[in-house]
Amino acid sequence: MYPPGHRLFRQGDPGSAVLALISGRVKVLGIEPDGGQLLITLRGAGDLIGEVAARRLSKRTATVETIDRCTARVLSVDRFNAFLNRHDGHSVLTDYLVTKLSQTVPYQVELVHFGPERKIARLLLEVVALADRSSANPDHIPFSQQEVADALGMARSTVALHLQRLREIGALRSGPRLAVSDLDALKDSAGV
């Protein structure tokens, strides 16, 4: 069990274990040489964390921080591999990695061609979709304006402007905390 904001892995550390996330959401962050952090992807309940480094016995390729209170099971690489052998799971893992590895460019690069409002809507939609049933308030988005700005490489003032617009069209609830009010309106803004 880990509290919100807890750093599970640090980029560059040796990777000797895999985490199976049972509940809660995490951010996968890439640390730039100048110390800046870029959001790479989000993961939620049912996802594996640290499987890239663990499989190759290499260093952690990203930093992982909890968003919510998270429950996870820690597996040593040996136990993880033994599990895969026992259940013939290597091809399943390969398929899993195919998708997850396509998510290794920073979020802001993946969304680079979308307009600012669409970028924000897409991030918020994904955070909400990853909330699991254990979440007390799945509509709540546990990000500050600054965190949204950092994740997307946008100015905080720009983020504030577009969050205000998303409130005006009814996609987000009014008030200081970020929360989804109308999921379909948010999807429209996200272009899905």
Partner: protein
């Protein structure tokens, strides 16, 4: 009867997509899925910086369980790269945010050729043999098999006509290595051609056995000469369902290409 020559209609880049197992989805979900298809395509074009290409579409029609559209022929290379990987990513994203009643997977065909284009939005826009060929390619068994033989993470399987492959891939305009494509014979109704298979994110059987299915029954592996040749070259893995000796044949699939968006491209 005398025949006089008439003008050839303009060449257009043609794209058709089809939702896999659409008829297997619940009837009450089908309208939602049908309506989502143009949204998905538009977002995939936007995702890879081709928002204008989508806006400049010459014609586009829903097909019930899919969509067919025509673009300026100059857009052909972009349909192969970066559009195909962007469509895969868009469908992955949609599955992550539960955008659709069921996670969607698509077959895609890409072709180029002369089709009518009056610019007046007629129902007949995009008519011509090339349009029919685009739909035939989409129905070809090699591209259907790609989705049957891959894991759920493979959301897009494409088949590219020989003409489009020559004009956009071999020419280098698509900046996509010819080795990423696997030639397969296509025989649908009157269309007999070579199609080129492209899967942005291969998985499952496509990784272990390649893009063409492995057939163990020697009766369907091919002619005597081919099998005889195989014995002499045991190292060659020529165990595909199709005996195909056309130009540009590439054995098996490629699983090691980088599929993410290229940050160096605009």
């Amino acid at each position: 009867m005398t025949r006089t020559a008439t003008e050839l209609p303009p060449y257009r880049a043609l794209l058709a997509v089809d939702i896999r197992d659409f008829s297997g989805s619940l009837g009450r979900d089908q309208a939602r899925i049908t309506d989502a298809v143009p949204t998905i395509l538009r977002s995939a074009f936007q995702r890879c910086g081709l928002a204008e290409t989508w806006q400049e579409m010459r014609f586009g029609f829903g097909t019930g369980d899919g969509y067919a559209l025509g673009l300026s022929s100059s857009a052909l290379p972009f349909l192969l790269n970066p559009f195909l990987p962007a469509l895969q990513e868009e469908l992955v994203y949609r599955a992550e945010v539960n955008a659709d009643p069921v996670p969607l997977r698509m077959r895609v065909s890409i072709h180029v050729g002369p089709v009518t284009d009056s610019g007046r939005g007629l129902l007949s826009e995009g008519s011509g043999t090339a349009r029919i060929e685009t739909h035939r390619l989409l129905d070809a068994s090699p591209v259907r098999e790609l989705l049957n033989r891959s894991g759920p993470m493979t959301r897009v399987a494409a088949i590219v006509s020989a003409r489009a492959y020559q004009d956009a891939v071999l020419s280098g305009y698509a900046a996509d290595a010819p080795e990423n494509y696997v030639a397969a014979p296509v025989e649908v109704k009157k269309l007999v051609d070579t199609g080129y298979l492209r899967v942005p994110s291969p998985s499952g059987g496509l990784l272990s056995d390649g893009f063409l299915p492995r057939i163990s029954d020697p009766a369907v592996v091919g002619d005597e000469d081919h099998r005889g040749g195989e014995k002499d070259r045991p190292g060659e893995q020529a165990r595909n369902a199709y005996t195909f000796h056309g130009p540009g044949f590439v054995h098996g699939g490629t699983g090691n290409q980088y599929n993410g968006p290229d940050p160096t491209k605009p």
